[in-house]
Amino acid sequence: MTAVAQDLPGVADATTDALLSVDGLRVEFGPADAPLVAVKDVGLTIAPGEIVGLIGESGSGKSLTCRSIMRLIGAPGRVTAGTVDFEGRDVLAMSSKELRDFRAHDVGMIYQDPFSSLNPVMRIGDHLRETLRANRGMSKAEARAEGIALLERVGIPDPERRYLSYPHELSGGMRQRVMIALATASRPRLLLADEPTTALDVTTQAQILDLLTDMRRELGMAVLVVSHDFGVIAQVCDRVCVMYGGHVVETGPVERIYADPQHPYTKALLDSVPDMESAGNPVRREGIPGYPPELTDVLPGCVFAPRCAHARPGCTSVPMVLQPVDAAAPDAGSTACPVRPFSVGGPFDPVAGSPPDPVAVPVSPQPAAATAAMTAAETAARAQTGDPGDLPAPGEARITQPTDQESTR
């Protein structure tokens, strides 16, 4: 774990007037002497009014990163390193009074599951009134009027009646609209949206995303959208950060990332998403072989190397550092892959840490066939060690299940 926290070149220009900048963030669980590191070294910036996407598989640390921004990591989790800077104020160093102020006025957050993010025994109006009275010092009557106006603004039909409804009387999409109304009630400059559409059906998804972009335009707020779905990110975001294994592996404008991913993981992630062309003609997409790293795994080099089709021997020892994709175009973003461009088997070019293993230095370009062969070889190797490559969850026992199953409860 010698990774050096660095400002992200490529986004660095934005940091001068950034609304939010997270740097060197590390989140741990478990005992202090043998911690489970869920977020290893994450940096990201958000400019005022910008919509940034944070994408990754479950367990990549994206939600924890999002929650760290509001200091909502509950015990036993804890932030052990890094800074979260909001307009020059360090969120991680705030007193509880400052923190409450910050949460009340500067940021809002909406959650993946609108079914559980509203208090089941309180009416919609109770939520709104409470928030408006506490955060905007309104009287009861003002809060009621404003609450109904807020419901109307997020597109809830018959807001006066809904004001008196209980959460369970609303559909998932309606509840998410209520959450958005609540989170934006005090006109925050940053909205954190943690998987805002995952629990919703596809049509509702699109409506909620539209609402988010509308609200952003109307309130001029920045939005951080956390998702595992590139489709969602592509629909609303300006810029995207790709996370894997507790690291940001690539960042850049959505168009560039989509057209020309500069990290093998990003490429693999995009390849696993069915696109519009294949919609009517379902093709079985390739998953990424292997499993995401366990929290207990300590990988000195690139966290993706064990699953990477383009890995060189040096990849497992070189620390992960984000480097500009194109030194001439800082806005194009940055990548943590030292093999650039990996797609044509470019030179191994680490900037920091130990020099690469001599054996690893430039190999001839790998054609796609070789990649496939490598994957096949890996699968074969797994098969030999009795390690089925297509087990659903990494945590499952890899031993043959015993026959007397009543003991395995």
């Binding site: 199953q405 009543e406 395995t408 409860r409």
Partner: protein, 291 residues
Amino acid sequence: MSTATLTPPARPSAAGRLLRRVWRQPLPVRIGGVLVGILVFAAVFAPLLAPYGQNDLDFNAQLQGPSLAHPMGTDDTGRDVFSRTLYGLRIDLAVVLFITYVPLPIGVLMGAIAGYFGGKVDLVISRIIDITIAFPFIVLVIAIVAIVGPGLTGIMIGVPIVAWALYARLARSEMLVLREQPFMLATTALGYTRRRAILRHAVPNLMRSSLIYSTVDLVVNLLLLAGLSYLGLGMQPPNAELGTIIAEGQANLLNAWWITTLPGLVLVVFGVGVGLIGDGLSDGELRGGGA
């Protein structure tokens, strides 16, 4: 662990293994184990440890405070409270083991049957459980004692008649979940008899949480037994039982506090010991499930 001490293990290595296993538990469980272990030991060997007989009268030593000769003092007829407490604990623990672990398997079986078959079977059993639980536990037991007649027999009949329902309710709700588990579905697919599916596959799984729950029940039943004896509905004089010792001391509460206080403390220590073990076990269960 109490059963292991009560019935000496066949091989010494088994006792060693048990000790080692106990020693690996968290501190509260170990403390609880030591407390319960001492009391169980004292109860089992009461005839050897007691300095006097439980009904030895000594009219030269009435209402004496704790001393070396009488560690817990003497009562108004000069009986040694320490000796009576040991004998009382002995009979109490034996009865408590009976009234806790007789209804447990019955309840688990009834719950398993109700949960496994569902439908009418479940309806009937559930209603019986509801009605049994609707009575205040002690009131129903007292009513049964009233019919059978005061004494330990009444309690040993009365408590199991009521207590099985608690285990049945617990086991039934677990069975409803268990029924849908792949290995239970597999018993049907493999053509096992229902009897085999319930007895060999479901019941062992259901026993686990009932056994953990039974640690709470041990304490509750001990307090119930002592309470009924205190009310004069349990152990009949002159033989010693913790509740009756305390009741007999009530007349001299102010001038001979030791007769009521010290045997009560023994009950408290046993309850705390079992409580510590039970807490540790259920915590461990939670940790095991969460990880």
